[in-house]
Amino acid sequence: MVPVSYYFALSAILFTLGALGVLIRRNAIIVFMSIELMLNAANLLFVAFARTYGALNGQIYVFFVIAVAAAEVAVGLALIVAIFRSRQTVNLDEISSMKG
C-alpha cells in the first residue's frame, strides 16, 4: 500500500505549484485556476487522511469544499467579467486601484 506520506508529499507539491501560479502569473484567470489547484491539493490530503483514519468526515468536507469552490468560481469569474468590462484587461499588473 502507498504510505499516506506520499499523498502528503504530492499534495504539498501541487499546493506549492498552485501558490507559485498565483504569485507569478499575471493573467487573472490563470491565477484563479491556480487557486483551484491549491484547493484540489487540499482536497487530496483530506481524502487521504480520511482513508487513513477510516473516517468519512474528510470526504464530507471535500464535498463542501467542491460546493464552495463552485460558488467561488462562479462569483470570481463574474467579477473578472465585470472588471474586464470596465478596464478591458484581465492583467493583474494593470489593476492597481487598491493602491493608496
Partner: protein, 696 residues
C-alpha cells in the same frame, strides 16, 4: 417685682423710634417726629428705672439671653444683656440725660434747621439721635467684649453722622466741608482707638478662650501678667480714642461742629464716657497689673491738665466746654486708673449732669444771640409776637459762639444765666454742688494712690475753676459787646425746662455718693469686686485745699475779666500777663499742627510717594509697562516666533512630515497589485510553517 426680662427693650424701643421716624418721620412733621423720638428715649429710661427697681430687690443682677449671635465650634457669642449695678447706672444716665436732651433738641433744632435753611433735616436729627441711644444701650448692656464693641462702633457711627450733621457747611454756618472733615477726623481718630480695642479683644479671646464678662473677669488673676498688661494697654488705646484722652483727644474739639444737643449728649454726657465704663467694667483686669493702672492714671492726669490749659485761652463758648470735657474725662480716667472705680463712675454721673447742663446752656446762649442777630420770620416759638427787628445786623460775619461778642447777657437772659451759673459752679467744684463731691473723691483717692496724679489733677482743677470763671465773666457780665448781645432773647420753655431738670441734678447729684453715706459705693459693690469698690473716706484737707484753689482761681478770673469788663475788640488781658504761654494755649499747644507735621503730612507725602512714585512710576510705568507689558510682549514674541513657529510648529510639521515620509515609504508596500499582497501572505505562511516545523 423682677423685670429683668424687659431689658432688651432699652435697645429695641429707641430702635423702633428710629425705624418709625425713618418710615414716617417726614409725614409726621416736626412735632410728631420729635414726640416719637422722645417717647422712645423716655421708654428706654422707664425700662432702665424698672431695672433699677429690680436690682434693688435682686442686687446680684442677671444675664438676659436674647439670641445666639455667633456660634462657631466651641466659640459661642450670644446677644446677652447684662443687668448689674454698673450697667444699670450707665443705662440710667444715658436714657435719663438722653431723654432731657431729646426734649431740648426738639426745641433747639426747630431753630437750627431754619437757620441752616434745611427744615427737612429735623427728622434726620432725631433718627440719628434714637439710633445713638440704641447703640449706646447695646454698649452698656452687652455681656461680652464683642457686644460692647458692637455698641462701641455703633456710637462711633452715630457720632460721625451727628458731627457731620450739617455736612455741607462750616462750623460758622457758611457753606463748606469743614464739618464733614471734623466728622472724618473723629472717625479716623476713633479708628486708631478701635484698633487697640480689637487687639485687646483678640488677646482676651486668645488668653481666656472667651469674650464673655462672666468668664473673663473672674479669671483675671490666672493669666500671665504680661498678657493682661498687653490686653489692658490695648484697651487703654481704645479708651484714649473713644474718651478723647492724650494722644487721640484731637477729634473732640472739632466734634463741636455738630449741633449743640449732640455736643451735650454724645460728646459730653454719654459716648465719651464709654471708655471710663470700659475700664470700670474691666476693673479685675486692670487691678491685676499695676503698671497698666499707672499708665491709665498718668494718661488721665496729663489729659486733665493739658486740656484744661487749652480751655483757658479759647474764645469759642463751645470749645471751652469741649476742652473742659476732655479735662474732666481725664479726671475720670485718672480715677479708674488709681483704682477709684466708684469715684470715677460717680464723677461720670455728675459730669453727665452738669456738662450736659453747660452745653445745653451754651446752646441756649448761642440761640439767644442768633435770634437777636437774625430773627426768624417764622419763629416756631414766638408766633408774630414781636415786631420785626431791623436786620441791618443780619448781614456780615457774625459768630454767635464767640464769647468776645457776648457780655452782659445776665440781664437779657436771666434764666439761662442762673442755670449756666449752677453748671459752672458745679464744674468748678465748689461745695455743695455735685462736682465738688465727685472731684474731691477722685482727688482724695489719687493722693493715696499716686501723688503725681494728684498734683496734675489739682492743677487741672485750679484751671477748671479759672476758665469757668472767665467764661461766666465774659459771657454774662460787663457790657454787651455786640448789638445781638444787647438784644438777646430768652429761649422758650421747651429749651429751658430740661436745663432746669439738669440744674436740679447738678445741685443734688452729690447726694449720690455723699461722704459717710455713699449709696453709690454700696450699689456698685454688687458688681465690682469688693476690694475694688471701697468707700472713700472724706478728707477735709483735700476738700478744703481744692475748694480754696477754686475760690482763688475764680477771684483771679474776676481780677482779669470781671473787675474791668472786656471792651469790644479788646484783646484778652491774660495775653499780656502770660505772653507766649497764652499764645501756645490759644493755639492748643499746636497739637493739631504737630500731628499734621509729624503724622498726617508725612503720611500724605508717603501716600503721594506711594501713589506717584511707587504706584505710578514704579508699579505702573516700570513694572506694568516696562516689565510686565514689554516683557510679556517680548515673551509673547519669543513664544510666537522661535518657540511656537519654530519648536511647536516645527514639531507638529516635523511629525506630519515624518508621518508623511513614513507613509510614503510604507505606501510603496501598498502597490495595489494583488499578487504582491498574495506574495506577502505566502511569505507569512512559509515563515509560520517554518517556525512550527523547525522549532519543535
Amino acid at each position: 417685682m423682677q423685670s429683668f426680662h424687659l431689658v432688651p427693650w432699652i435697645v429695641f424701643l429707641p430702635l423702633i423710634g428710629f425705624l418709625l421716624n425713618i418710615a414716617f418721620g417726614r409725614r409726621l412733621g416736626e412735632r410728631g417726629a420729635a414726640l416719637i423720638a422722645i417717647a422712645a428715649s423716655a421708654g428706654a429710661f422707664a425700662i432702665s428705672v424698672l431695672q433699677y427697681l429690680s436690682l434693688n430687690a435682686h442686687p446680684e443682677g442677671a444675664v438676659v439671653h436674647l439670641a445666639e449671635w455667633i456660634g462657631i465650634g466651641a466659640l459661642s457669642i450670644p446677644w446677652a444683656f447684662r443687668v448689674d449695678t454698673l450697667s444699670v447706672t450707665m443705662m440710667l444716665v444715658v436714657s435719663g440725660v438722653g431723654t432731657l436732651i431729646h426734649i431740648y433738641a426738639s426745641g433747639y433744632m426747630s431753630y437750627d434747621v431754619r437757620y441752616k435753611e434745611d427744615p427737612g433735616s429735623y427728622t434726620r436729627f432725631f433718627i440719628y439721635l434714637n439710633l445713638f441711644i440704641a447703640a449706646m444701650m447695646v454698649l452698656v448692656s452687652g455681656n461680652s467684649y464683642l457686644m460692647l464693641f458692637v455698641g462701641w462702633e455703633g456710637v462711633g457711627l452715630c457720632s460721625f453722622l451727628l458731627i457731620g450733621f450739617w455736612y455741607n457747611r462750616n462750623p460758622d454756618g457758611k457753606k463748606g466741608l469743614l464739618n464733614s472733615q471734623a466728622a472724618k477726623k473723629a472717625f479716623v481718630a476713633n479708628r486708631v482707638g478701635d484698633f487697640g480695642f480689637l487687639i485687646a479683644a483678640f488677646a482676651i479671646f486668645w488668653a481666656f478662650g472667651s469674650l464673655s464678662f462672666d468668664e473673663v473677669l473672674p479669671q483675671a488673676g490666672t493669666v500671665a501678667p504680661a498678657v493682661v498688661l498687653l490686653i489692658t494697654l490695648a484697651l487703654l488705646l481704645g479708651v484714649t480714642g473713644k474718651s478723647a484722652q492724650l494722644p487721640l483727644y484731637v477729634w473732640l474739639p472739632d466734634a463741636m461742629a455738630g449741633p449743640t444737643p449732640v455736643s451735650a449728649l454724645i460728646h459730653a454726657a454719654t459716648m465719651v464716657t464709654a471708655g471710663v465704663y470700659l475700664v470700670a467694667r474691666s476693673a479685675p483686669l486692670f487691678a491685676a497689673v499695676p503698671e497698666a493702672q499707672t499708665a491709665v492714671a498718668i494718661v488721665g492726669g496729663l489729659t486733665a491738665l493739658f486740656a484744661a490749659s487749652i480751655a483757658v485761652a479759647q474764645t469759642d463758648i463751645k470749645k471751652v466746654l469741649a476742652y473742659s470735657t476732655i479735662s474732666q474725662l481725664g479726671f475720670m480716667v485718672a480715677a479708674v486708673g488709681v483704682g477709684a472705680y466708684v469715684a470715677g463712675m460717680f464723677h461720670l454721673v455728675t459730669h453727665a449732669f452738669f456738662k450736659a447742663l453747660l452745653f445745653l446752656g451754651s446752646g441756649s446762649v448761642i440761640l439767644a444771640l442768633e435770634r437777636a442777630h437774625h430773627p426768624l420770620p417764622d419763629d416756631p416759638y414766638l408766633p408774630k409776637k414781636k415786631k420785626k427787628h431791623d436786620d441791618h445786623h443780619g448781614h456780615g460775619h457774625f459768630d454767635p459762639q464767640d464769647m468776645r461778642v457776648m457780655g452782659g447777657l445776665r440781664k437779657q437772659i436771666p434764666l439761662t444765666y442762673w442755670l449756666y451759673l449752677i453748671g459752672a459752679v458745679a464744674l468748678a467744684g465748689l461745695p455743695p454742688l455735685a462736682g465738688f463731691f465727685s472731684k474731691d473723691e477722685i482727688l482724695t483717692d489719687a493722693l493715696h494712690a499716686n501723688p503725681l496724679v494728684y498734683l496734675l489733677l489739682t492743677a487741672a482743677a485750679f484751671l477748671t475753676a479759672f476758665y469757668m470763671g472767665r467764661q461766666i465773666w465774659l459771657v454774662f457780665f460787663g457790657e454787651p459787646r455786640s448789638h445781638a448781645a444787647g438784644h438777646a432773647v430768652e429761649s422758650p420753655p421747651v429749651i429751658t425746662a430740661p436745663l432746669i431738670a439738669l440744674a436740679g441734678l447738678s445741685i443734688f447729684g452729690g447726694l449720690l455718693n455723699f461722704p459717710g453715706w455713699h449709696p453709690l459705693t454700696d450699689w456698685l459693690e454688687h458688681t465690682l469686686r469688693h476690694d475694688l469698690a471701697h468707700a472713700t473716706v472724706f478728707n477735709p484737707g483735700v476738700a478744703g485745699f481744692s475748694t480754696l484753689l477754686a475760690v482763688v482761681a475764680i477771684y483771679l478770673s474776676w481780677q482779669l475779666y470781671g473787675r474791668q469788663p472786656l471792651k469790644e475788640r479788646q484783646p484778652d488781658p491774660l495775653k499780656k500777663r502770660l505772653g507766649r504761654l497764652f499764645t501756645a494755649m490759644e493755639n492748643k499747644w499746636w497739637v493739631d499742627e504737630l500731628y499734621f507735621a509729624a503724622i498726617i503730612n508725612p503720611y500724605k507725602r508717603f501716600a503721594a510717594f506711594l501713589a506717584d512714585k511707587v504706584d505710578w512710576d514704579f508699579w505702573h510705568d516700570w513694572v506694568h509697562d516696562s516689565l510686565i507689558a514689554k516683557g510679556f510682549r517680548n515673551l509673547a514674541h519669543f513664544l510666537a516666533n522661535p518657540v511656537d513657529l519654530g519648536v511647536i510648529d516645527g514639531l507638529a510639521n516635523g511629525l506630519a512630515r515624518a508621518a508623511q515620509g513614513l507613509a510614503r515609504v510604507l505606501s510603496l508596500l501598498q502597490t495595489g497589485f494583488v499578487r504582491n499582497y498574495a506574495l506577502v501572505t505566502f511569505l507569512g505562511v512559509v515563515l509560520v510553517l517554518g517556525y512550527l516545523v523547525f522549532s519543535s
